[in-house]
Symmetry: C2
Subunit: 294 residues, 2 copies
């Protein structure tokens, strides 16, 4: 029995269909189909059964799926611990960092990469919710007030938000026609909007990505609640009259306990703390745009 069959079962179950599983595994769906056929005849066809809506598992297949899940977790753990033992002369680190924070410290990052040729840094901003337990990254920079308990790292300081608008937009638009840029949301309006100078202004453009909202605001498409460290350096984005920055989530630099003692990991985390601390005043909203008063 090829142990990769466990992975096959797991991926097919997760994806829900052969084609989706194939896409996930980076192979053609015919390959998955044929592998499954072989597995079925090897196991006397007691794994999957065709149901009306997709693919279901037999009780026997459920047992194999449970095993596969456990194996996956064991594999992830082994990968991390294996990395912890690996050669310190050339260490690969996958860093997950929000794009906004990344662009803030990109110069420092550049210096870090140049100054540490022994560390092969791989930036990953694609996953909003990256999972260190699943070996999707080695270090994460995240803004949150509730980091996962089992991760280790440093809490830095909070970042502050404020309300912004493009200077021309604010000047040329009738305040009656102001509209907010916000995410596609359900339920009540957020507190900062209600206590803003324009609590009755409607939600205009919706965007779920914080960077997109920032860019939309900078282009003058509405009012936006954004991070100070993103908005304040932009000359034509100014804070709304009378609104003060307010504390939002804490910045954390986190890693997995298995990797804590790896020198390269420690070095990177120390650097990230220093790089962010260097911009602490900006992040905490103490460096407002000089155009503010206009």
């Amino acid at each position: 029995m090829d142990w990769d069959n466990y992975r096959l079962i797991l991926e097919i179950h997760r994806a829900g269909s052969i084609r989706a599983a194939a896409k996930q595994m980076g192979v053609d769906h015919s390959t998955i189909s044929r592998r499954l056929s072989k597995l079925r005849q090897y196991l006397d066809d007691t794994v999957f059964e065709k149901t009306a809506d997709g693919i279901g598992l037999t009780p026997a297949g459920q047992e194999l799926l449970d095993a596969a899940r456990q194996m996956e977790m064991i594999g992830f753990t082994a990968d991390r611990r294996s990395k912890a033992h690996s050669n310190p002369e050339r260490y690969k680190i996958r860093l997950s960092i929000p794009p906004s924070v990344c662009s803030l410290i990109v110069d420092d990052l550049k210096n870090f990469v140049i100054g540490n040729p022994d560390i092969e840094l791989s930036l990953d901003s694609t996953f909003s919710r990256v999972d260190l337990d699943r070996s999707e990254a080695d270090v994460v920079v995240r803004g949150t007030d509730n980091p996962p308990d089992h991760l280790v790292g440093r809490r830095l300081f909070p970042y502050f938000l404020c309300l912004y608008g493009q200077a021309e937009y604010l000047k040329k638009t009738d305040p009656e026609d102001y509209s907010w840029i916000y995410r596609d949301y359900e339920g009540e309006k957020p507190q900062w909007l209600l206590s803003s100078p324009y609590p009755d202004a409607p939600i205009g453009i919706k965007a779920n990505d914080i960077v997109t909202r920032h860019n939309l605001a900078a282009e003058g498409l509405g009012l936006n609640c954004g991070a100070c460290f993103m908005a304040d350096p932009v000359p034509n984005l100014i804070r709304l009259e009378g609104v003060l920055p307010f504390r939002w989530e804490d910045f954390w630099v986190l890693t997995h306990p298995d990797l804590r003692k790896v020198p390269a990991i420690q070095k990177l985390m120390k650097f990230l703390s220093a790089a962010l601390t260097k911009h602490r005043d900006l992040i905490e909203g103490r460096v407002p745009n000089p155009n503010h008063g206009e």
Copy 2:
């Protein structure tokens, strides 16, 4: 990462060499060599290292090996539980039974197989120590006084041993020249030998297999301590004068808890108990060879 690589690491480590692992896995050694090469370059060569005596593991490789061992155990467990759910219309059972016991109840076994076409019985007498935890068998018949705690099943009754010799051997050989057939042993002589009529007779032929010793004794190559149920039915094998059968180990019919409730397993275990009980008098030494008195 192909999960079968974990099995690769495990087998190479167990076997100690690439060729031995290949033999174990039923493929050519070149295949293993090439698979390992690929794995090494995938993992930056941090798994195995060549040492003076064979193949050693790096600390990173050790982590992967530990994972592989856990995966193996999970796989075995899943296999058992998967079997427990499988189609009751055609059930495969692997029965591990000592060859001696097998030949005793072979007629009954034949009837069982004929009478239960839904059960596909696979006899396995090759492993002296078969491991149910490792999915090497589903049911075992074993003579022991200390069955593994976690297995479940029935204790039947003890089998008895006695001391035997071929009739012609006993008649034509000077008792001064009698010799014992015994296993290749270390340490003290066993108690039954010391308290036998010929405690000073030397160990002649050595054989570790109980069936071989029985056959040797039946051919007249020495005295033997054997199971009553094996020796008593043989016409020219007679008990030594004045020696009474003595209790040895209990017979057990065992299976794994995961399989206990499978109907086919229950049916087989019930049959085995009945078949052995049918020969209880013979097994407990109450059917001596009628030639005994000669």
